[in-house]
């Protein structure tokens, strides 16, 4: 016989608390909704995404998709989104390299390298990214010489205030045909993986590791066939050359893009360096000593013993740094790169559709974040499984 009054029954109370919470939430939401509608009505504005089909009629400086001012607002936003994605993806690749180098440098027994890395990490981590971006853009890149007096680095890589020019592969007439070869080569890797796995399941003893060479040899063979059949290679080097007032050929990174990418890579790299250092230091010294006493060289110990273990510690925080990099790319607005936030801001200014634009903005960044963390979680699960 349950004698507790229902208002003191914990189960009832729990439901009651949630009902209250929903009510409060609904009240707040309703209050905000009423405010929004009255405020909009007062200004004679209406909500809706109809404006997205109207022509944007503003220019976008650089885009990886084709874009004209006569395109729609939706297209403009898409162009901005692609710009953000490109700069983030490149940034993630480069910042990982920089971060690992600096992180290992922080642990180096070489005093100069150690202090160098420490100074880099110390200064970059303690100052705002926005300021760094402005410094790189206004203080460094725009101070480079003009096109005529370009700074030439080996490569050739030309640094000018109108952008960075570098060697790039240019597709030849046979490029479309080559895509088929590359596709078949990639496909062959999957096929090999499938065959080897099936063979392994049937075999009673582990297959010889030499079979893994098939992953290398067969795709290369397929590509070699391509070289024999096709008259010319798919890409030819396009080298930037000064002709007249400007450089011809090669790949040009605009100053805004270069400053943004550089700034993001340098900034995030400092954080990744600390994560890498902490991860490596978290692997106990005994592990290294044991590996060394088993006869592994220092390099082998680092590669085979320390790194796999450190990786498990490193991946989750690095994931959040990748996300930070993507989100931080929104600071591009300060240096004139038309990223998603910048384009969305312009659309908002031209249409006045504040609520609609900010909703799109947040949802897009949120999806990028969720998608990146999903990928990294998959990877994380994989390396965690390897160990157990």
């Amino acid at each position: 016989m349950n004698t507790t009054a229902f208002w003191r029954d914990i189960r009832v109370l729990k439901i009651f608390a949630q009902v209250i919470f929903i009510l409060v939430l609904a009240l707040v939401a309703g209050y905000l909704y009423v405010n929004v509608t009255t405020n909009l009505a007062r200004q004679g504005l209406t909500m809706g995404y109809g404006f997205m089909k109207n022509p944007a009629s503003f220019g976008i400086g650089e885009s990886f998709l084709s874009y004209e001012p006569s395109n729609t607002y939706a297209r403009a936003l898409l162009v901005g989104l692609v710009n953000t994605l490109v700069v983030s993806a490149l940034g993630i690749v480069f910042t990982t390299i920089v971060g690992i180098l600096a992180g290992v440098g922080r642990l180096s027994s070489n005093w100069l390298i150690n202090k160098f890395a420490a100074a880099y990490v110390g200064v970059i981590r303690n100052t705002p990214l926005l300021l760094q971006l402005m410094f790189w853009y206004f203080g460094v890149i725009l101070q480079l010489p003009g096109v005529q007096q370009a700074v030439k680095l080996p490569g050739p890589l030309f640094l000018t205030q109108r952008g960075v020019y570098m060697v790039w592969g240019e597709g030849t007439a046979t490029l479309p045909a080559w895509r088929i070869f590359v596709f078949i080569a990639l496909l062959s890797i999957f096929v090999i993986w499938f065959i080897l796995r099936t063979a392994q399941e049937r075999a009673s003893i582990p297959l010889s590791p030499w079979w893994n060479l098939a992953y290398l040899i067969i795709p290369v063979l397929i590509l070699l066939i391509g070289f024999v059949i096709e008259p010319e290679p798919p890409l030819q080097a396009s080298i930037p050359e000064l002709s007249g007032l400007n450089f011809q050929g090669g790949l040009r990174l605009t100053p805004e893009f270069a400053a943004l990418l550089f700034g993001l890579v340098v900034y995030t790299g400092a954080f990744i360096a600390e994560i890498v250092r902490a991860g490596i230091q978290a692997v106990s010294r005994g592990q290294v000593e044991a590996a060394r006493s088993l006869g592994l060289t220092a390099g082998q110990a680092l590669r085979l013993v320390v790194f796999p273990q450190a990786l498990r510690i490193i991946v989750p925080p690095i994931t959040s740094q990748y996300l930070n990099l993507t989100k931080n790319s929104s600071l591009a607005i300060a240096i004139g790169f038309p990223d998603f936030f910048s384009v969305a801001g312009t659309v908002f200014n031209q249409t006045g559709a504040a609520i609609e634009i900010i909703t799109i903005m947040m949802l897009s960044y949120l999806s990028i974040s969720l998608f990146t963390s999903l990928l990294m979680n998959l990877y994380n699960r994989r390396i965690q499984l390897v160990e157990r």
Binding site: R42, Q43, G44, S57, F58, G59, I60, G61, E62, P69, S70, F138, L142, Q143, G146, Q161, R162, P255, E256, I333, A334, I335, G336, P338, S342, G345, T346, N349, Q350
Partner: protein, 362 residues
């Protein structure tokens, strides 16, 4: 004990924040009428004016970083063409050109500030356009500066001001985002069939700096801005040239929120009074001599005879105060813009072939 400090501490800070946030307007009786009862179209006339009179100062939205029009120097002093108009309204109401509180507003927030009642009047080189007048619920005063969008280029690229946009084929053009300028740029280049690459900055100064450093071949903005900013922030203004192409009409005018026609009229007639005074040759130097003038036009304007000021609920000598403290239109122009060699052009009096024309004071 110490463990409890943290939450307690933050709670107090939060409370103080709430007090600062909600309390500031309420605890400021001077600003209270403005903050709590923004002028909506259904509010009866005269309320805003009364609120300003009660408060004892005009809250004027201005540009803070635009030399010549609205600029705050490193000591926090406001100067500029638009700023002088703010002072003129203060002089008309309070006989004190310093009874103004300036709010530096960005291009993006200026109209919101007006609509929400944060500022009484906006004098921030804002273009009078149909949509702003009608859709945003604003009342624009008389045009105090006739402007137009222009484009400035390096002399190394274009050496003839008469050259058209065609001379800028393939150019990088620096421009500020969030302005009509950005749209006109796209429209005009499209119409002329000229390819260009926009480099867009959210801050006008950043656009000028990038142009100056050589990032762009040209920069576009209002002609007045190109001339003033150009001389202020370009390292060598003589290396640049402003093309004759007129890319748009930009009549710059002060604006108030719809809802208090009486206040709107004060704003309008002070500007007209300054134009009229210039036409009559009345300056801040000689205005006292004109008080004894026999000319009825002058006598009415300066409030020596008639009840013109009282009709607006002001002192009859409100134009006298404006001229005495701030000067006539020409003086204000001269004081702020002559250093930039910005020719009067359309901003000359109608008697000199310009567009500045005041309805009669009678």
């Amino acid at each position: 004990m110490r463990k409890l400090l943290f939450p307690l501490f933050s709670l107090l800070v939060l409370t103080s924040l709430v007090l600062a946030g909600c309390g500031t307007p309420a605890a400021t009786p001077t600003a209270a009428p403005a903050a709590e009862t923004p002028q909506t179209p259904e509010v009866a006339g005269g309320e805003r004016l009364q609120a300003i009179l009660d408060r004892g100062e005009v809250i004027c939205g201005a540009h803070g970083t635009f030399q010549g029009f609205g600029f705050v120097d490193s000591d926090g002093n406001w100067t500029g063409f638009d700023v002088d108009f703010c002072r003129a309204w203060a002089a008309a109401l309070f006989d004190n050109p310093n009874a103004v509180e300036f709010r530096g507003l960005s291009a993006q927030e200026r109209f919101t500030a007006l609509q929400s009642g944060e500022v009484d009047v906006l004098a921030r080189n804002s273009t009078w356009s149909y949509a702003r007048d009608v859709e945003l619920g604003l009342t624009f005063g008389p045009v105090n500066f006739y402007d137009g969008q222009a484009i400035m280029a390096k002399k190394s690229i274009v050496d003839d001001p008469a050259a058209g946009l065609q001379a800028l084929e393939g150019a990088n053009v620096c421009v500020q985002s969030g302005t009509t300028t950005e749209l006109n740029l796209a429209d005009q280049f499209r119409a002329a069939g000229v390819n260009y690459t926009p480099v867009v900055f959210e801050d006008q100064n950043a656009a000028f700096q990038a142009y100056d450093e050589g990032r762009c071949d040209a920069i576009t903005s209002d002609r007045s801005q190109l001339a003033t900013q150009g001389q202020a922030v370009l390292q060598n203004f003589d290396d640049h040239i402003i093309l004759d192409v007129v890319m748009s009409k930009e009549p710059l005018a002060p604006a108030v929120s719809d809802g208090d026609p009486q206040w709107a009229e004060v704003v309008q007639w002070v500007v007209y009074g300054m134009i009229q005074a210039e036409e009559l040759g009345i300056t801040s130097q000689n205005v006292d001599e004109f008080l004894t003038s026999e000319d009825p036009v002058v006598r009415r304007l300066l409030g020596v005879e008639g009840e013109l000021g009282a009709m607006l609920g002001l002192s009859n000598d409100f134009i006298y105060r404006v001229i005495k403290h701030v000067g006539n239109y020409g003086e204000v122009y001269e004081r702020n813009l002559s250093v930039f060699n910005l020719a009067r052009g359309q901003n000359e009096l109608w008697t000199n072939g310009g567009l500045m024309y005041s309805p009669p004071f009678r």
